[in-house]
Symmetry: C2
Subunit: 165 residues, 2 copies
């Protein structure tokens, strides 16, 4: 449905009452000391966790109005309309917020992939635990749960890899 | 499978090489400036997101060895073996880690609930966006997606509500 709303119109309720935050009917999100709230994003169809990102106040308002996921990139220090460069836009089907309103869950419809490495989910590796698979120096071995990339990041992206050590 | 391993045995690989972190086979998790890594926890059967928590190094090692979710409680500033007080233990069926290894995804088998307010998922409220439902002062209305509590927190918990404004 089309709503002619501006970001400046939308107001987040002040956090003053724990009972109201936890069991009330009004959005009063908690942005941390860094101004960010963590966001879990899952595939609306498969339920798979695609990524864990962050939003600041502006990113959340843009997401609510655009109905497409807009995050805040901590490495690039800027708003990040997911898929704007790769074409892999995340259409928001549902947004949930947790009890103390300090994290969000986005359920999105996705074409393509969500991981800048080329896999569908950013969580393409597991940590086998039964048993743990240790290297000779007691480091912990990972297992690939996705074996083929959905796209080739070297051809899709013009910008540098955002990952930081 | 029984493995006689101690927490002190397990080693996390140092983060020195982005290619190795993103596409390698060894666990080298990134703990933030606060010493924590965020953790998404989903129900192994339904796929539903139950909660978003945090682990420090000790909590992750305990989780890997115990195969039950152990978080770090930011409000209580202590390790938190989830369900130890309520009885609602989270049995870990699978652990995944994301591309840059700065967030974890736990898939757990759960009896009971995961939300200290009494609902099954902490994400028991949605933010309807199509259309946004605004109050007269342009605040954003939430909708309850779970309508009945699974348990009564006032009878289950002896400790105070951990939520902080």
């Amino acid at each position: 449905m089309k709503q002619n709303l501006e970001e400046t119109t939308l107001q987040f309720k002040d956090r003053t009452d724990i009972q109201e935050i936890e069991e009330g009917h009004t959005l009063s999100p908690k942005f941390g000391a860094d101004g960010l709230i963590p966001v879990v994003t899952t595939d609306y169809t498969t339920g798979e966790v695609l990524m864990l990102g962050y939003m600041n106040r502006a990113a959340l308002k843009k997401t609510l109005l655009l109905k497409e996921a807009v995050y805040y990139s901590r490495s690039r220090k800027t708003l990040w309309h997911k898929g704007k460069e790769s074409g892999f836009i995340q259409k928001v089907k549902e947004i949930r917020i947790d009890d103390d309103q300090d994290s969000l869950w986005l359920r999105v419809a996705l074409t393509g992939a969500s991981c800048h490495v080329g896999y569908r989910s950013c969580f393409f590796r597991s940590i086998p635990i039964d048993p743990l698979n240790l290297t000779p120096n007691n480091q912990i071995t990972l297992k690939f749960e996705e074996t083929e990339k959905v796209f080739d990041p070297t051809t899709v992206y013009k910008t540098p890899n955002p990952t930081q050590i």
